[in-house]
Symmetry: C2
Subunit: 342 residues, 2 copies
């Protein structure tokens, strides 16, 4: 990278003071339009790039918000990012994004990279490792420098900051009840993401629901790379299961595919509900009933909260939004009992 | 954002020179281990963040690569980004990402943001608007500051830089021939992305193939939001089409869904080939035969090329990789003619 032209060099070339160059570039009314034009033309010609650190000392805000997400392939995060990006554009902010790849170390490095890049605030969804180790030391520089932090989806209780998330366990509980309500009597929880905190929450919600309703319980962990799963087919064949709550979208699709390929009918022999409302849920035949994670909405709300925080529109106390849960009923579940009773 | 502690302040607190603090933080052998420890402890305690611009003057490389992609929701870009991220981690580089949202203005702003953040190089896939207007002025600062640029997937001929892409028109030509080879006689091209440059290329490839083979031609543009498409069903019903090359993954899935829901069989009544090998292609019933876009591979190769360029391992002349095309044969197409002849 070559040395870039400085304010001083521009001033020398134009035979004016550094302060005049700086004011001209910042559209100061103190500088005549003619001089502004001369300065800007020469700056453009020399591809002058303002020193952001120096600029910050004056303007403070960079109108740039950093975003750290744990992964990019799951549809949920792509959609959340789309929500963040859309809302940022709308409100006149830029975003720069890092991916932690579920690693605490990469997350810590990303925090450092983004702070150095002088962001006005940081929106994060924590990595799996960060959540598992409950490690928060790497976020300390944010607090000491008073860089606002908004957490979404994957949050930790002990971090004092604005939070946007949904209640995973309550959602799983409601989805289990919806399966029971549609006539299922033997509901199992199938997980292909058994080492994550969202899975723990969803499993807890499922177990709470079957306990409350006095229904049988069965939790099956499977490897999404090793399908069709023999345990699954045995369970349906022997009528030990007639409803499945799957841990995530791909898990639900794999469950449906295995059952259909083995000749079972959905929803007549087996009802299925998944999580995350992605394209696969919408377009699979039959379409998949699913718990809506409100990914785009979470992203938009995280960005709005961040901008309100930056612009001083929020009380000092951190705020926490828990989004309303909802279940999208499609063709992988039967109608509700009270509908069928008509 | 509060003022951060500076090298000068650290030096004052420790009663040593600024140069000693700087050298200690950079593990200089000139400084005793004891002093290094003292300096680092105090720096950590005060959450010292090095001034990256100042640091650059010495080390030049930030080990950070900027990435600008046009959108995040299409599976192709999520997968390419995953490839870039994976390879960057492997080679000890960080990436920071901006999304241009298919807008030239946002792309130009992103270039500015990332240059200011002092990246070693920039990997880009151009926005639709940039390609349509063939506008490249906003990339000029990269060339004048000798910041390396690698373009992937969406490139422009007139930009002198390293490029990684695939030959969309050749791929479409081969996919059309594969449909003919499987026994289809009336092949149509269905597009739900008719205002993009990749669509132009794919359409061109389709038209070339039917021309070479003397087959009938039919190009249909449809609105993915308005499905099932009546034109499509009429065409199958009246036996005016028995094979479809769809412009993208979602388009192919929508075509299959409409045909199946209307009672037609795939591949017996209608064969379908799509583009982009996403999860939907793999898991739909029947699974979708598709042109592999090598998204992750393109991402990895873009990052590798960038690192080789940064580290001076490439000749001065820009290099261009065109990835080999391949078609993944699944259940939405019949076996090849020569297979059936057995």
């Amino acid at each position: 990278m070559e040395n870039r032209i400085t304010l001083k060099e521009l001033a020398k070339l134009l035979n004016v003071s550094i302060s005049t160059v700086s004011k001209a570039l910042n559209d100061s009314p103190e500088i005549s339009p003619q001089t502004q034009k001369r300065v800007k033309e020469l700056a453009a010609l020399n591809h002058y790039v303002p020193n952001m650190l120096a600029q910050n000392l004056k303007t403070r805000h960079t109108k740039t918000i950093g975003v750290i997400i744990p992964a990019i392939l799951p549809h949920f995060f792509a959609e959340a990012l789309h929500g963040i990006e859309t809302k940022a554009s709308e409100l006149g902010y830029r975003i720069i994004i890092c991916i932690s790849n579920e690693s605490l170390k990469k997350e810590a490095e990303s925090v450092q990279t983004l702070i150095k890049g002088q962001v006005d605030g940081l929106i994060m969804s924590l990595s799996q490792e960060t959540q598992a180790k409950m490690e928060i030391d790497h976020l300390q520089p944010l607090f000491s420098h008073k860089v606002p932090l908004v957490l979404f989806d994957r949050v930790l209780k002990q971090i004092q900051c604005d939070k946007i998330h949904i209640n995973d366990s309550l959602q799983a509980e409601q989805a289990t009840m919806a399966l029971l309500n549609s006539g299922c009597k033997k509901i199992a929880y199938f997980s292909g993401i058994s080492d994550t905190s969202v899975d723990d929450e969803r499993k807890k919600g499922y177990l709470d629901a079957v306990k409350i309703l006095g229904a049988s319980r069965k939790v099956v962990n499977f490897d999404p790379k090793n399908f069709p799963d023999k345990k699954l087919l045995d369970l349906i064949e022997n009528k030990k299961v007639d409803g499945i709550l799957a841990s995530d979208e791909l898990g639900a699709i794999l469950v449906m595919k295995s059952a259909l390929n083995a000749g079972f009918r959905i929803p007549e022999d087996l009802s299925v509900i998944g999580f995350t409302n992605g394209q696969m849920s919408e377009h699979f035949r039959p379409s998949l009933s699913t718990v809506d994670q409100h990914a785009e909405e979470q992203g938009k709300l995280a960005l709005e909260t961040m901008v309100d925080r930056i612009e001083g529109k929020l009380p000092a106390e951190p705020i926490e939004y828990k989004l309303e849960t909802s279940i999208i009923h499609r063709n992988s579940t039967r109608q509700k009992l009270y509908d069928l009773a008509d």
